[in-house]
């Protein structure tokens, strides 16, 4: 079952195949729980979010369209939305967003099947993030990963709303440009 593609697992999930459901959960549970825990901070709430994310994925598996994105992207988007809804009050950040995404650490080795394609893989994205000015990196991690609104980014960073929006916009555009540039030089 581990050699089966992500798309095939989703198809199995949609068809009610219990082996496929089990393999699907095993394959993605660390990513889903990790993202949920990162956003909601609380262990118990993270588990609730992660469980609900898998149930939602099962319920909507028959509507998954691989032409619109990867399985892991779809599943993590579900997880992120649930986690953001679960967080009613933002706690002060107890960590640096750049540290959170591991920009200060070696990337480590990953198995080939873990180098997930979303148009970009995580290591290339991490490298592109590391090229950003620190304040832009923090802004895009807060908004793109943790789901902060521009206003919340402004409050967390003690900057005006307009500055927060400018940093988020600039960061995403530069990230995209870096990734596209890398693709064309490969």
């Amino acid at each position: 079952m581990w050699s089966v593609s992500d798309d095939a697992l989703v198809a199995g999930l949609a068809a009610g195949d219990e082996d496929a459901a089990s393999a699907f959960v095993q394959r993605f549970q660390r990513r889903v729980y990790g993202l949920a825990r990162t956003i909601v901070v609380d262990d118990r709430a993270a588990e609730d979010v992660a469980q609900e994310a898998f149930v939602r994925a099962w319920r909507h598996a028959d509507a998954f369209d691989h032409r619109r994105g990867s399985v892991v992207g779809w599943l993590l988007t579900i997880t992120r939305n649930l986690a953001i809804d679960a967080v009613r009050i933002r706690r002060p950040l107890a960590f640096d967003p750049a540290v959170l995404v591991g920009l200060d650490q070696p990337s480590g080795e990953r198995e080939p099947h873990e180098l997930v394609q979303l148009g970009v893989d995580t290591e290339r994205l991490r490298a592109a993030l590391a090229q950003l000015p620190e304040e832009q990196c923090r802004a895009i991690v807060l908004s793109g990963l943790l789901g902060y609104t521009a206003r919340e980014v402004g409050e967390a960073e003690h900057i005006p709303l307009g500055t927060a929006k400018t940093r988020i916009r600039a960061a995403l555009i530069r990230l995209r440009a870096a990734l596209v540039s890398e693709e064309t030089t490969e």
């Binding site: 549970q29 729980y33 997880t79 995404v101 994205l125 908004s143």
Partner: protein
């Protein structure tokens, strides 16, 4: 026609891709993107990058027994859905049977040129299910049920942000009215109420946010 120009949408594109825009800005930007291939391409590129950002979260081992608990939930909900499916199908069959009887009765009455009672009322009391779909993503957000042409129940459980929404009825003739206010919390919410005007086929029910944007909607496609 959107009020935004290409220049304005290009400026807002990163926030649109990250899902940070709300209300009128989001609705107008999406309207523009739907009609402009160049802006659409830009937003799609940025969305691809934005969608990759959650991959940066550290992977963590969930608590022991997590997989078992997830599979148990799926299993129990699957069984529940099957149980629910049977009465739903029975209700559909009942509606169909009553409708057939009604049509038959109408034909008989018309053939006899009589004005005696036509058994329409039973069909009118059977609930009509309307799937509420997310206006942007098109995925199912929940269901509305219209009973007797006036009673309305709306329930959502997916993809609707927490907040207060107007339950808006737009009749087939274009007239629109708010039937009440529904609160959504953690993607879930339900509301029941009545419409003074009869809800007929072709009417649309929608949840409308404070900015006037319909976040999900469904159209009555069978007789209500």
């Amino acid at each position: 026609m959107s009020i935004f120009s290409c220049r304005e949408v290009r400026e807002l594109a990163p926030e649109l891709a990250l899902g940070l825009l709300g209300g009128t800005e989001r609705a107008e930007a999406i309207m523009h993107v739907d009609e402009c291939a160049r802006c659409q391409a830009l937003v799609l590129e940025l969305t691809e990058t934005a969608d990759a950002l959650p991959l940066l979260a550290p992977e963590l081992e969930p608590p022991a027994g997590f997989e078992h608990r997830v599979l148990s939930q799926i299993h129990s909900r699957r069984r529940w859905n099957r149980r629910r499916f049977v009465p739903t199908m029975a209700a559909v069959a009942a509606v169909a049977a009553v409708a057939i009887l009604s049509v038959t009765a109408v034909h008989v009455v018309e053939a006899n040129n009589s004005s005696s009672t036509v058994p329409r009322s039973a069909a009118a009391r059977a609930p009509v299910a309307v799937e509420m779909r997310d206006t942007v993503a098109g995925v199912s957000a929940g269901w509305a049920y219209v009973t007797g042409g006036h009673s309305v129940a709306v329930t959502v459980d997916y993809g609707v942000s927490s907040g207060r929404y107007h339950v808006q009825l737009t009749r087939a003739d274009g007239g629109a009215q708010s039937l009440g206010t529904m609160t959504v919390n953690g993607n879930r919410g339900s509301w029941t109420g009545r419409s003074a005007r009869t809800i007929t086929r072709g009417s649309t029910l929608a949840l409308v946010d404070a900015a006037g944007r319909a976040v999900c909607h469904g159209t009555v496609t069978t007789g209500a």
